[in-house]
């Protein structure tokens, strides 16, 4: 009896969800917008810059009369909420933001509805940093790690591009270069790419086997040989603050993080940014609609607005993000488009986690 009840409930839930998804896809875009306005509200789960994003969403609210609510939460916490809501007929999440590299660890078709109801636009991005989210997610936030530097001490021609040139900089300017190994991904992106180039290890292989990790040893030795000449900072923000303060001349940073701090007047506006030729990790964040979203039409209209060329241009100007719509204007970015060819893909877990643990133990804790 209980088994029958459970099966019946599961079937009802599944068919209702599929019906909701199918309903949206079969509607014309005008009908979706009409339904969205009737729904009148949506909840966007996004874990960062929530105050700024609430402000940015005001434009959408004014244009469509749909209220956007952004609750506070971490990415991990939001993911746990998404999974916890999965079995409910109607969940609490309408639009779900996720770090792009996390799409590899989520069963997209089981969690999200296809975004086929949106008007066609070939300029959008659903394949980023080697990960194709298909029709289930679109990138709305492009971010890139690189090196922030103080132009009063170092000029464009002298910027280090390779591990060898970085080592030369460390030696000629001791304790003027810093990077974080935790509390943010810019420092890890830096040391991972140095390890990749110096060791020649295969970063496309996600294996955390002993042999694969042992291949990193030349890179580990490289850092230990120069340990006295560079500084390890506490976080992404600490690195930038210490450049702004004049203590450091160079440090890894996120492009959007630096631009945001500069726009808000929290760090010096003259700090510059570049991607070294050896490469540093780039990526982004995407948005999807959960299968049991309570306001799926409003969510679709919101995503369409979020990834439009106009909004992406505003994001580029306000937040310093790399636009995730090819028709957007990226002239406000900290770096020229040509430099983005040095963007590399972050290595996958479990190799990345094992490499981070190895670096912490064999470099950071040996200082």
């Amino acid at each position: 009896m209980i088994k029958k009840l459970l099966i019946s409930t599961a079937v009802i839930v599944a068919t209702t969800q599929m019906a909701a998804a199918a309903d949206l896809s079969s509607m014309s875009w005008d009908d979706v917008v009409t339904q969205a306005k009737e729904e009148g509200e949506l909840t966007w789960y996004v874990w960062y810059l929530t105050d700024d994003l609430r402000r940015a969403a005001k434009t959408f609210e004014e244009e469509y009369g749909i209220t956007v609510t952004i609750p506070e939460g971490t990415m991990e916490g939001n993911l746990e909420k998404l999974y916890a809501d999965k079995a409910r007929k109607t969940g609490d999440i309408d639009v779900f933001a996720l770090g792009w590299d996390s799409y590899t660890s989520v069963d997209l078709s089981a969690m999200f509805m296809p975004l086929t109801a949106l008007p066609k636009d070939d300029n959008r991005v659903s394949d980023l940093a080697g990960i194709d989210a298909g029709e289930y997610a679109f990138a709305f936030w492009g971010n890139q790690t690189g090196i922030a530097y103080d132009p009063t001490h170092i000029t464009g021609d002298d910027l280090p591009q390779t591990p060898k040139e970085f080592a030369a900089f460390w030696q000629s300017h001791p304790e003027k270069f810093g990077f974080n190994y935790q509390n943010g991904g810019s420092g890890p992106s830096y040391y991972q790419n140095i390890l990749r180039v110096v060791s020649g290890a295969d970063f496309s292989d996600p294996s955390d086997s002993k042999e694969h990790l042992a291949a990193l040893q030349p890179g580990i030795d490289f850092f230990n040989a120069h340990a006295e000449n560079y500084v390890i900072t506490a976080s992404n923000a600490d690195s930038i603050t210490r450049i702004s303060d004049g203590e450091l001349w160079m440090a890894p940073a996120w492009e959007d993080h630096l631009a945001g701090l500069q726009n808000r007047g929290e760090v010096r506006k003259d700090i510059k940014f570049y991607i070294p030729e050896m490469g540093m990790n780039g990526g982004g964040n995407g948005v999807s609609i959960p299968l049991n979203a309570p306001h799926s039409a409003a969510a679709a209209v919101f995503i369409n607005w979020l990834i439009s060329p106009e909004t992406q241009t505003v994001f580029n100007k306000e937040f310093g993000t790399a636009p995730m719509n090819a028709a957007a204007d990226d002239s406000f970015a900290l770096i020229p488009n040509a430099m983005r060819k040095y963007s590399t893909v972050s290595p996958n877990k479990p190799f990345r986690s094992a490499m981070e643990a190895k670096f912490t133990e064999e470099v950071v804790q040996q200082r």
Partner: protein, 284 residues
Amino acid sequence: MTARQWITVTLLLMPGLGLIVWLIGTVVYIAFAQSFGLYNINGESALTTAYWADLLGNNIYLRSVRYSTYIGVMSAIFSVVLAYPLAIWLRKPFTGSMTIGSILKAPLLVHGLVAAFLFVNVISYHGILNQFMQWIGIWDGPHRLQNDNNAIAVLILQTWKNMPFALLLLTGALQGISDDVLDAARDLGAGSWARFRKIIAPLTVSGMQAAIVIIFIGAVSDFAFQVIAGPINRQSLAQLMVGYKGRGDWNSAAVVGATMIIVALFGSAILAGLSKIVMRGRLK
């Protein structure tokens, strides 16, 4: 007692004690169970000692245990040592003693995160301390004081935050000592040190033990001070646990969490015993 009386007592205790035991018990049980592979959030649950074996052979974990124990012990000692003379001074009320006591207890009202950020600002490369030292001519240039390898910044913050708590407990214990007892000792020729050693210390040992144990437990599990002002080449147990959790390795995080419980439990028992021996000259 009869069975009926036992039931009555149990029912009377249930709302208070039962809730505490249930809340703490479930959390501790799940932490230990996860450390042995049960209650897995990701994947199948299976009883295993592999997570403990992995971490016991891991240098990062062992250094974290040593580091957190060091922070816990030193913070407790510094806080109590600084609080004693202040508590003795404030034992008998005098004009302004209430104001001084309130100012000394002010750190209890300031959140640790706020204190840590303010402190980092003070000691930063171009912060007030560096500028002052250069202005008076002691230092030629700015010194890098942030995230020092010996965790002096963390110990300063822990002592600043916890000393008022020790002061609160010790002042209460000291005010419980009758003037007659101290006057009698003075009449018998006991000097300041002898009065402290033979009267004040033994009579305030319970308050001191409570302070030392509570401060130790809090400092062993510190996260906020460590992340902001702590050394880069060491990780506290709480920091390590959050790191594992962030990587989705809940079982290793549970091992570190269980370790924190064990260190807090045994460490506080050892500290309480040692402090009694030091203050009374004997264990009982």
